[in-house]
């Protein structure tokens, strides 16, 4: 028998959702101040004042009407997370829509969901004339969403421990860096802000060395860092990283994309001096192995089609796109049309494999994640060994991730369910794409890019694409970022609300 959610559960959800919405509203004051003080753009700044007020009002009203002292349990926490991402999408879309650079509110929602989920697919019109205030918000989205919307709330707005922990887990993160979840959340912010300062300085200096004026160089630097470290792939100009025409800029961007795709737990180990973890960690080994395989496939494809006549050019263009796909960033140094018309099926398949598998768990990257790929591989190895050895033999399989652990069936089951969920998502978008008349490989590429929160595009994502496909990609990006569980919890909650007794 399905139990109908009680009034207390709904109040609890409303209260925490309200707190998170207040957090989203408060972050809008950053572009508001930057717009007024740094960019001299009063109208765009006002867009953020209006949107912030709307968000804070809704948040205050919800948290007042639903005031409760009850701890938030796992199920409702997941519902809060799923709803808060939808609320963040809709409220953050208001200033972008007011900019006049989006054909519809749905397009603005697509943009913000793409940003928060660190995907990077974009529907903006005339990006090259977009106000810096709005452009900054496009890039702040990935920085907020990459670390986690709930992480803000946990760090600054939500007290208690159980409720915070459940919110943290609901956002697709199942690892705590330190025993206390609030400290974990604050550490994630500390790491991110430290890298933000470092990244902005380095990219700013590189920008100046390639001919950008200082104010422009540092604006580009902060945007590219936020969207690169948070593996989103947005850029301030319409031709993405190709705009800079610089090998040095590409190398620095690759560095930040790669470290952005590392597990925050690994960052914590490095910051606390445990450098050995880099070589021992199953995720790092899997990431290195997969990247090598994908590089071989893609390079072979590019050579086979004779896309680039020069070996160095082939490596530079190929490797950048591979790392961009593998880390699920989506930065491009070629045009989307070139993917389709020049790269050939084998090279595209290589990039699709990279996007499907993605970066590390508990990072800003998307995709199935290296930890799961590593565990599935170890589980297969264990089963093959079992088949080959005597039935009475006891076979244990270990892996190292921060500490050495043994693989058990429960863990493998959990990993396979999420993996299967991702394949379902990839398939769903492909099916809708093919149903709307797009070629199979293109539809698969774009769907994988959306669900894996990658952002590479072969040209399907465009303001003129059907609304049904936009909505499908929004759902894919949302479910992919939350690793499906919170979305399932939300669906379950509604089913229980309608059918429960």
């Amino acid at each position: 028998m399905i139990l109908k959610p009680q009034a207390n559960d709904i109040k609890n959800i409303g209260y925490y959702l309200g707190r998170i919405i207040i957090g989203i509203g408060l972050t809008m004051f950053l572009p508001f101040i930057a717009g007024l003080v740094l960019f001299s753009e009063p109208n765009p700044a006002l867009d953020f004042l209006i949107s912030a007020n709307i968000a804070i009002f809704i948040g205050l009203a919800l948290s007042w009407l639903c005031k409760t002292d009850k701890e938030l349990h796992t199920g409702p926490a997941m519902v809060v997370i799923a709803l808060s991402w939808l609320a963040a999408m809709a409220l953050s879309a208001i200033p972008l829509f007011l900019s006049g650079h989006y054909k519809s509110f749905l397009d603005a929602c697509f943009e913000t969901m793409s940003g928060f989920t660190t995907t990077g697919l974009t529907l903006v019109q005339d990006l090259d004339h977009l106000a810096r205030t709005h452009n900054l918000w496009r890039h702040l989205g990935p920085f907020i969403g990459g670390q986690g919307i709930a992480i803000i709330a946990i760090s600054f707005l939500v007290g208690g421990t159980n409720g915070s922990l459940n919110l943290y887990l609901g956002e697709g993160r199942d690892e705590k860096l330190v025993p206390n979840v609030i400290h974990t959340a604050r550490f994630i912010w500390a790491i991110s802000i430290a890298y933000l300062i470092l990244g902005t300085i380095v990219l700013g200096l590189v920008g100046m060395s390639i001919g950008l004026k200082p104010h422009s160089a540092f604006f580009h630097a902060v945007c590219i860092f936020m969207a690169g470290f948070d593996t989103a792939g947005f850029a301030p100009q319409s031709i993405n990283i190709l705009y800079y025409h610089s090998l040095m800029f590409e190398i620095v961007t690759i560095f930040f994309m790669v470290i952005g795709s590392f597990n925050f737990n690994l960052h914590y180990q490095i910051w606390t001096g445990n450098f050995k973890e880099i070589w021992k960690n199953i995720e790092m080994r899997t990431l290195l192995f997969i990247t090598m395989i994908v590089t071989l496939i893609t390079m072979a494809g590019l050579r086979q089609w004779g896309v680039y006549s020069d070996g160095m050019i082939l490596f530079r263009k190929g490797f950048f796109q591979i790392i961009s796909g593998q880390t699920t960033t989506g930065y491009m140094t070629i045009y989307a049309q070139q993917f389709l018309k020049e790269w050939g099926d084998l090279a595209l398949t290589g990039i699709i494999i990279a996007m499907v598998l993605g970066g590390c768990a508990c990072s800003t990257a998307g995709g199935i994640k290296m930890l799961r790929v590593g565990i599935i591989y170890k589980a297969f190895r264990q089963d093959i060994k079992k088949m080959m050895l005597s039935p009475s033999a006891v076979i244990v399989q270990r892996f190292h991730h921060i500490r050495t652990m043994f693989i058990d069936d429960k863990q493998v089951r959990a990993v396979l369910i999420v993996t299967l969920g991702y394949f379902f998502l990839y398939g769903l978008g492909t099916l809708v794409g093919v149903g709307l008349g797009y070629p199979f490989l293109n539809a698969l590429f774009e769907s994988t890019s959306a669900a894996g929160n990658v952002g590479l595009s072969c040209g399907i994502t465009d303001a003129s694409m059907p609304a049904i496909l936009k909505m499908t990609y929004i759902i894919e990006m949302w479910a992919g970022r939350l690793e499906l569980m919170s979305v399932f919890a939300l669906i379950g909650f509604f089913v229980a609300f309608v059918k429960g007794r």
């Binding site: 009002f57 090259d128 001919g211 025409h245 050019i313």
Partner: protein, 163 residues
């Protein structure tokens, strides 16, 4: 007969000259170039659009970007060619409209495989301008009133919480 042949030859030359000059002046759009990269690779093209973004000086050359309304393409040009360009398009400015004549590269060997155009001539067609955007009074009113509403609401919430 000789006169007729000569006349025919002159006419043929005229037709060829006119048609070739028309062909040279034909403007390629970014869609044409990006959808026909192999067809245009290494060929002289004419491309027209607004100068946007930043002009990046690299020695005696510059990178500038010209957007034809769909997407921008990188233009590699000698510094001397851009002396007439005064307005670079962004939120505050409408950039100069230029017509670039140059060699299109699908994957430029000189620039790490970037798709670009090496300009041999840049003509300014229309001068850009500063875009005047007066502060929207409507937005100011909505912003201020909504802020007051939020502050009153917050004060009420605090008031009832303390009671």
């Amino acid at each position: 007969m000789k006169v007729k042949s000569f006349f025919f030859f002159v006419m043929l030359c005229l037709v060829l000259i006119i048609s070739s000059s028309n062909c040279y002046a034909q403007i390629s759009t970014s869609s044409d170039l990006l959808n026909g990269t192999k067809q245009y690779d290494g060929k002289t093209v004419n491309y027209k659009g607004e100068v946007i973004g930043d002009v990046m000086i690299r020695g005696d050359h510059v990178w500038l970007h010209v957007n034809d309304g769909t997407i921008a393409i990188g233009i590699w040009a000698p510094k001397i060619m851009i002396q007439d360009i005064l307005y670079i398009g962004d939120y505050h400015k409408k950039g100069d409209i230029v017509e670039v004549s140059g060699t299109f590269h699908r994957s430029c060997p000189e620039h790490g495989g970037d798709l670009d155009i090496h300009a041999s001539e840049i003509k300014k067609i229309t001068s850009g301008s500063t875009v005047i955007r007066p502060i929207s009074r409507k937005k100011v009113y909505i912003g201020v009133y909504s802020l007051m509403l939020v502050l009153i609401f917050y004060a009420l919430k605090r008031f009832f919480k303390n009671r």
